[in-house]
């Protein structure tokens, strides 16, 4: 099952490869910067002072550790395994994104960078980036597809409130992938003072490794919390996957525990066999985009295709390279959940637990509704409740009709 003799947690190698995936596919102008980020990150990682500082911000500013909530009514409603929700929605700014932003902004400061840029899709990473920039008084520019600026207005306003400049990107399809292209173009033009704060476990090495490391606090806490609550590891852990940062954060601590099923949920949009989905692993092919070799939605001629999902945060035609590796070696199972299934799960979680999940997270919950009865009573499942859904209520309102709201699960 595994290519690593000892541990699946050992990657990446020195070239930034997880098996065949990852690497550093950037223009020469950026290459020295990428190497500089890597050297700075490795030095920070080995510096106990850096870790102490990060821990303090995570505790006193982000609000970690986040609780592991036993979801009793949801468990009862699904009639199967006992369900725990890892409450990343309770972090400051309402999602897991801030874990990595906090780590990266401390790194940027350590590197002496004075300007921050980032890309954002749904706006969650943009808000988290604008937040840490406000905290440290650094100017920041957020690239966001013009289409996303239109459909995520509350987050655009939040970013501007926080002092960030939001630059709508009109090139290409004007969504997340184009925002990332534009951020890379900005970085190339401002190499001296600018740090590119990438929001997911994708991009050139060391970003997939670094973002995963900063997000792995999710799994480290979950592991201790579930052992404390249940005296054993869960039977399964589920997370949604766009670029894949909340999933890597949860999964990394469990990769070597063969008894724990790990399931990543991709956005199947209007269906995996339509052309409107974001299932890079289930329907894509390996290729190179945004600095890494990974699975991509692309044409036969190697042109990148548009992704589709009701959730702007999963609307990306690629995926982090470590996921591509874990997909190919079979350690993590990847499944698809449609827009409609995600909406149903969104409502179920809201009505049984009083927790409005992000639409991204609702994809993980939708797969849970299938898996909980299958694993059955006596089983334990952890779901990464990666973000809260306040940002999504207008989207949900457009898709639900009055009858949906009258039913009570």
């Amino acid at each position: 099952m595994t290519n690593f003799a000892n541990s699946l947690r050992a990657g990446p190698d020195e070239r930034g490869r997880f098996g065949a995936f990852g690497g550093r596919f950037v223009a020469e102008t950026l290459m020295p910067l990428i190497l500089e980020v890597e050297a700075a990150y490795r030095a920070a990682k080995d510096d106990p002072g850096f870790q102490r500082e990060l821990d303090r911000y995570l505790r006193d500013y982000v609000g970690r550790p986040s609780p592991l909530w036993p979801a009793e009514r949801l468990s009862a409603a699904l009639g199967g395994a006992k369900i725990y929700l890892k409450r990343e929605d309770l972090n400051h700014t309402g999602a897991h994104k801030i874990n990595s932003c906090m780590g990266q902004i401390l790194l940027a400061r350590r590197m002496g960078k004075t300007r921050i840029i980032a890309e954002t899709g749904a706006g969650q990473h943009g808000v988290a980036t604008a937040t840490v920039c406000a905290l440290f008084g650094l100017p920041c520019t957020i690239y966001m597809g013009a289409v996303d600026v239109e459909r995520q207005k509350p987050n655009v306003f939040r970013m501007r409130l926080l002092g960030a400049e939001v630059r709508p990107v009109t090139s290409g399809a004007a969504t997340l992938k184009d925002a990332m292209n534009e951020a890379l173009r900005d970085w190339v033009a401002h190499v001296d003072d600018t740090y590119y704060l990438i929001g997911t476990v994708a991009g050139p090495h060391p970003y997939p490794m670094m973002v995963r490391d900063f997000q792995s606090v999710i799994g480290v806490e979950t592991r201790a919390q579930i052992l404390d609550a249940e005296g054993r590891l869960p039977d399964a852990a589920i997370a949604c996957v766009g670029g894949g940062s909340n999933a890597m954060g949860l999964f990394h601590s469990f990769l070597d525990d063969e008894t724990v099923r790990l399931i990543g949920v991709e956005a199947a949009g209007r269906g995996l066999d339509t052309h409107e989905h974001a299932a890079s692993l289930e329907r894509g092919r390996p290729g190179v985009l945004h600095g890494n070799l990974t699975y991509l939605l692309q044409t036969d001629d190697g042109q990148i295709e548009e992704a589709h999902s009701i959730s702007a945060g999963l609307d990306y035609p690629g995926i982090g390279p470590e996921h591509a590796f874990l997909f190919e070696n079979g350690r993590v199972q990847y499944v698809g959940v449609t827009d409609d299934e995600a909406l149903a799960a969104f409502l179920l979680c809201t009505r049984t637990e009083g927790i409005i999940p992000a639409l991204e997270t609702a994809h993980a919950l939708a797969h849970l509704t299938k898996l909980a009865p299958e694993i059955g009573p006596g089983g334990v499942i952890v779901v990464n409740l990666s973000g809260r859904g306040d940002k999504d209520i207008f989207t949900v309102a457009r898709h639900l009709n009055a009858a949906d709201l009258e039913e009570s699960p």
Partner: protein, 273 residues
């Protein structure tokens, strides 16, 4: 001797710098871009660079991005680009042709098959923007087997410690990216170029071309005073774009681009060496 080496050696003998104009394949359509390509040698091109359209050109500014979008809309594919080179070779066997683009379409085509087909079509060299030396082994053996030069980019951020690594495995010429930035935006100061080129010259015997930000005949002339060749891309595409009518080629499109090629070539030829 490869066509690239032969051409540059001949120009050295002549005592002048080389002009490398750029066109995006299939921009705005196959026929017009073929007409531009075919007309370039007579207009004064010494080598020709052809852009391979890609949906996500991360090193390119708006002008070349839009050229790529027009080309893809016009049905550009990698095999279509190779077919253009093949057609060009039917009447020109001397002018070196270099393909410039991004890695993913080549991966989708298959690196080994691509190198073979490119060589058969008459391609001489490749510039792959997102393939730094660290990842070059993905294409190096196939390119070498097919006799294609891998042209390396050197940037202002490439320091003395890194330069030997970039030059190892480089062929054809060295492409100096004159600005930290994307294509077609700003231009480098002559003083910056005068400082940047000598260290590269000291580290390699390969000729040096300067690209990114050369827009006018005067700038091209300045570039070949300092280096061996000048690449002009966005300025030519701007002319092409300005000649379009509702996105389609006008009757003057190819002629206007070729007239600009001629003007730049004349400026370069007037530089005493």
């Amino acid at each position: 001797m490869s066509r690239i080496a032969a051409r540059i050696a001949a120009l050295r003998k002549e005592g002048r710098g080389a002009f490398i104009p750029f066109l995006e394949a299939f921009d705005p359509d196959r026929e017009t871009s073929q007409a531009i390509l075919d007309g370039m040698p007579a207009a004064g091109a010494d080598l020709i660079e052809i852009g391979m359209p890609f949906s996500d050109p991360m090193a390119d500014g708006p002008i070349i991005q839009e050229a790529g979008q027009r080309a893809l809309k016009a049905g550009a594919t990698l095999s279509g680009t190779l077919a253009m080179v093949h057609a060009f070779r039917a009447h020109d066997r001397e002018t070196p042709v270099i393909l410039m683009g991004y890695l993913n379409p080549i991966l989708a085509y298959g690196p080994a098959r691509f190198c073979t087909d490119a060589q058969e079509a008459g391609v001489d060299g490749l510039i792959i923007v997102d393939l730094p030396p660290e990842e070059a082994d993905l294409l190096a053996a196939d390119a070498a087997r097919a006799g294609l030069d891998i042209i390396r980019l050197v940037a202002p951020t490439t320091d003395a410690a890194r330069l030997p690594r970039v030059l190892a495995g480089a062929g054809g010429f060295v492409y100096y990216v004159s600005i930290t930035g994307i294509t077609g935006t700003r231009s480098a100061a002559i003083s910056d170029l005068a400082r940047a080129i000598p260290p590269i010259r000291a580290a390699t015997d390969l000729p040096i071309a300067i690209g990114f930000g050369i827009k006018t005949p005067a700038q091209a002339a300045e570039a070949v005073r300092i280096a061996d060749a000048a690449v002009v891309a966005s300025a030519l595409i701007e002319t092409l774009a300005a000649s379009l009518r509702e996105g389609c080629a006008g009757p003057e499109t190819a002629a206007r681009v070729l007239a600009q090629v001629r003007a730049i070539a004349d400026a370069i030829r007037a530089v005493p060496r």
